[in-house]
């Protein structure tokens, strides 16, 4: 299943094989900024500009199971793991909803939070915000563990992610480069320049904003998206392929 949400405010589920629309939900008040599935893919989460995150039961067409409306501004990103929901909102807060404990933790970051990711070790949350470094925050008490800076995030929603090795943080940027940091040392390990990528003689418009990053859950590879192109990066070989 593919869950997608867009400006049409309707989270939609497509079937991968047939390409048909399986489900569609109405109810959001604004464009959907981010979607997520839970581990079992039984709940579809959609974070929207109306400040709510709606949790839909994938198997029903009816109203959402729950609406998380604690945010006071647009919710820009949502991430789910086995027992938690993390949301980042334009009201500068990262909200972590712990279902097991029944608690909500709100962390104030000073600037709109553009991207949140729950780390696979279940200890931390990675939060990217505007005009600020990417922060790794401890979930238990909200302490700052590490900051990653060097990239540029002033105008757009730039995504980040943690690689499957749990050693690297990768993030897009508005200066045409993808930054990779070492988690512990917080130093830039690599910068992947997207401006000069050419494709066999064909003119390729330089990509200045790399806005979307997604890491593979197990392999050491990740995808970056810029303009109309998606790049797949595989770490050990440093080869890139255009798709």
């Amino acid at each position: 299943m593919i869950l997608c949400g867009g400006v049409d405010k309707q989270p939609t589920i497509f079937d991968v094989e047939t390409g048909k629309m399986l489900k569609r939900w109405r109810g959001h008040g604004g464009t959907i900024n981010s979607v997520a599935f839970n581990e079992e893919s039984s709940v579809a989460f959609s974070a929207s500009q109306d400040g709510t995150v709606r949790c839909h039961d994938v198997r029903s067409r009816g109203p959402p199971i729950q609406i998380l409306d604690e945010a006071t501004d647009s919710v820009l990103s949502v991430d789910v793991n086995s027992h938690e929901i993390a949301t980042g909102s334009a009201d500068s807060h990262v909200r972590i909803f712990d279902i097991r404990e029944g608690r909500l933790f709100m962390d104030f970051l000073g600037e709109s939070v553009t991207d949140v990711h729950l780390t696979p070790d279940n200890q931390c949350v990675l939060a990217a915000s505007m005009n600020s470094p990417i922060r790794l925050i401890e979930k238990a008490n909200g302490n700052l563990l590490s900051e990653y800076s060097g990239h540029k995030n002033t105008d757009f929603k730039i995504e980040c992610d943690i690689l499957s090795s749990n050693d690297e943080i990768v993030s897009g940027s508005e200066d045409g480069q993808v930054y990779i940091w070492d988690v512990i040392e917080a130093k830039v390990v690599a910068k992947l320049d997207h401006r000069n990528i050419s494709q066999a003689g064909k003119y390729v418009s330089p990509a200045k904003f790399i806005h979307s990053i997604s890491a593979h859950p197990t392999a050491q590879s990740f995808i970056t998206a810029a303009r109309e192109r998606v790049y797949l990066w595989q770490l050990p070989m440093e080869e890139e392929m255009e798709e």
């Binding site: 109810g27 109203p63 199971i65 604690e70 712990d98 608690r103 104030f108 302490n143 700052l144």
Partner: protein, 676 residues
């Protein structure tokens, strides 16, 4: 043209102007132009009322204000010109409706009209009164009087008329005979619009008595204006007397009844059915003989008014005279003060003395009828406390707390039966037993009646907390709010208020951390001091379904809330929203309470099984739907009936889904779907 025969009379050939006047459309109001007497246009532009002064709203004449001739040279200096108001006025002002209209009126004559031109006009009091001052002449007193008293009432016109032979009350005009006079009267009345009849009789009588006498015309009748002193409309006249209720009307109506059957002048078109007779008409048939002046008028004899009340009959026997008894004779040494004989108990028989031993002082006092209350109660509470403590009047320590109040708040029972140690002891025992939940047995030396009485007394003296321990009271006690509701409401309310005191340990669980101020937080962020200042914690209640989908046991199983208490927002009941959360509380609809409780229990059972035993959920689910559907069905029907609009969105999904989605169910109710 001779072939044509001309029929009828042709129209008059009108002048052009007249033709225009007839054929043209009526002039619109916008085309009506105001012109003055010379035909010049007045009121240029959009005229909305007002007056125009001067020469077409400008200065006095075509050439502007014409100045008076000004000459100033060495020889002739310019005279000081006095400008009068009339200089600045124009024809309009001096016309008929202007402010300085020139009309001819008689002079006010409080001046001496009879004075000769040369004479000085003296005022009344200036004339010399003394006759001696003037020479006695033929006119004498009358002349002097005439000088003093001058008639000043008549106006000059009247004086002239009088000189010409007019008298007050007569009309003005040539004299005529009676006939013409009557005719003139008639004409005048008709001109006024009133109907009048030629009075022939007057003419004939005049002819008879005074055949050749000339009558002067009738004077114009004085019009007397009556000022309006009411607030009715103009011309309003109230109900006239000539209405239905007057006798004359009745007579008239009776007379106008031509036939016996005819309705006369009353109508019968409204109000009476076809099958009914009209009511007896009491307003038009007027006959005094119809009215009774007395009841039972058939008997014409005037009954006697009895001298005495007819219900009473004079008795035959004569009662005896009341006997007067004389006053009692007092002994000469009688004193009207009472001296009680003191009781000497030693002289009393043995039995009575024994009685007193068992009684306490209070009891004895009550027995003797001397005192009703114990001494303690007669003291002020302060003194009572002091006595209890064993203090004295001279203790300076102020009493801060009323001990009885303290006693009741801390649950300690005060001792109301201090006077009687036995009773007090029993009371204390009773209280102790009550605290432990036992019943105090009846003491042996008391009769049942006495004991019951005492127990009742004890119960009346219990403090409120102890009273709640009483078995009867406990049986009656029911919590006002159901626990499920109460808890959530409590949580809510707690959340809404900021605690002043430090929270106790169990309250910390539910504490809501104060959100630090924004600048605090910002500065914390700047300093990279994340943690305490930047983090806020809340209790968040996930939806049941969410927990289910995540396969996580509900952290708040009893809770009906969804979300964070403190951050509950108003429910959004939009068109596409099928959920209706009650404002702020998230309390369930009472109709769904049962199902939810049941489902909750089932869910818990279920999760237990899933988590612990790993039993295939299908088996469990198989049982449930049958029960559920039965109860769900009427519920669903009910809700469906009420909330129609959400019907189309809630169809059962797949065949194996036995769940029926209730339309307005808040997302708390779990679905009885089969597991994945």
């Amino acid at each position: 043209m001779s072939d044509f025969a001309i029929y009828g009379t042709p129209f008059e050939v009108l002048e052009d102007e007249e033709k225009d006047a007839i054929t043209r459309k009526p002039k619109g109001i916008q085309d009506e132009i105001v012109t003055d007497e010379k035909g010049r246009r007045r009121f240029h532009g959009a005229f909305t009322g007002g007056f125009s002064a001067g020469y077409f709203n400008s200065v006095g004449s075509k050439h502007g204000w014409v100045p008076q001739t000004f000459k100033s040279s060495r020889e002739s200096r310019a005279e000081k010109v006095q400008i009068s108001a009339e200089d600045l006025m124009d024809d309009e002002d001096m016309g008929e409706f202007g402010i300085a209209s020139r009309k001819i009126r008689p002079k006010r004559d409080f001046m001496d009209a009879f004075a000769l031109p040369g004479e000085k006009q003296l005022l009344a009091w200036e004339r010399s009164v003394l006759p001696s001052s003037s020479s006695i002449s033929d006119e004498g007193l009358s002349a002097k009087l005439a000088e003093i008293i001058r008639p000043v009432n008549d106006s000059i016109g009247i004086r002239l008329l009088k000189k010409m032979g007019w008298r007050e009350g007569r009309g003005i005009g040539p004299k005529m005979n009676r006939k013409s006079l009557e005719r003139q009267k008639l004409n005048e009345l008709r001109a006024q619009g009133k109907t009048a009849v030629f009075d022939k009789e007057a003419v004939e009588s005049a002819q008879e008595f005074v055949p050749n006498f000339e009558f002067s015309p009738e004077d114009i009748s004085r019009v007397y204006f009556t000022s309006k002193e009411d607030k009715h409309g103009l011309g309003y006249v109230g109900i006239l007397e000539t209405s239905v209720l007057k006798q004359s009307y009745g007579e008239m109506a009776a007379t106008l009844k031509v036939k016996q059957k005819s309705k006369g002048i009353k109508g019968q078109a409204f109000g009476v059915g076809a099958f009914e007779d009209d009511d007896e008409d009491i307003y038009t048939s007027f006959d005094l003989s119809q009215y009774d002046f007395e009841l039972d008028s058939s008997s014409t004899s005037v009954p006697e008014v009895a001298r005495y009340d007819s219900t009473f009959v004079q008795s035959t026997k004569k009662s005896a005279l009341r006997k007067n008894f004389p006053l009692p004779k007092l002994p000469h040494d009688f004193k009207h003060t009472h001296k009680p004989i003191p009781v000497d108990i030693k002289k009393m028989p043995e039995e009575i003395r024994k009685l007193g031993h068992k009684m306490t002082a209070l009891q004895r006092a009550q027995f003797l009828g001397e005192r009703d209350v114990s001494v303690m109660e007669m003291l002020s509470s302060k003194d009572r406390e002091r006595l209890k403590r064993g203090g004295s009047r001279w203790d300076k320590k102020p009493e801060t707390v009323n001990t009885s109040a303290a006693a009741s708040t801390s649950g300690v029972q005060g001792d109301p039966f201090e006077e009687e140690p036995m009773k007090s002891h029993r009371f204390k025992q009773y209280v102790q037993y009550l605290r432990r939940g036992l019943t105090y047995p009846q003491p042996i030396d008391m009769t049942q009646l006495e004991w019951e009485h005492e127990v009742e007394e004890f119960q009346n003296h219990l403090s409120p907390e102890l009273r709640s321990l009483l078995p009867e009271v406990r049986a009656r006690q029911q919590p006002l709010a159901k626990v499920a509701y109460a808890d959530s409401i409590m949580e809510q309310l707690k959340g809404r208020f900021q605690k002043e005191t430090k929270p106790t340990s169990d309250e910390l669980h539910h504490e809501k951390m104060k959100v630090p101020k924004d600048h605090d937080r910002l500065s914390a962020v700047k300093m990279k001091m994340f943690g305490e200042k930047t983090r806020t914690r809340y209790d968040w209640h996930p939806a049941k379904d969410l927990c289910k989908r995540f396969n996580i046991p509900d952290p708040y199983p009893g809770s009906m809330l969804v979300g964070v208490l403190q951050l509950q927002k108003k429910p959004i009941i939009g068109k596409n929203e099928d959920t209706m959360e009650l404002a702020g509380l998230g309390l369930p609809n009472t109709a769904l309470e049962l199902t939810r409780k049941r489902e909750k229990d089932e869910f818990e059972k279920e999760t237990q099984r899933i988590v612990n035993e790993n039993v295939h959920p299908h088996q469990i689910k198989q049982e449930e739907p049958t029960e559920d559907t039965e109860l769900d069905r009427p519920m669903f029907e009910l809700l469906k009936a009420i909330f129609d609009e959400s019907e189309e969105e809630n169809e059962p999904e797949e065949e194996n889904e036995t769940k029926i989605e209730e339309p307005i169910k808040p997302q708390l109710v779990k679905e009885t779907t089969n597991g994945e």
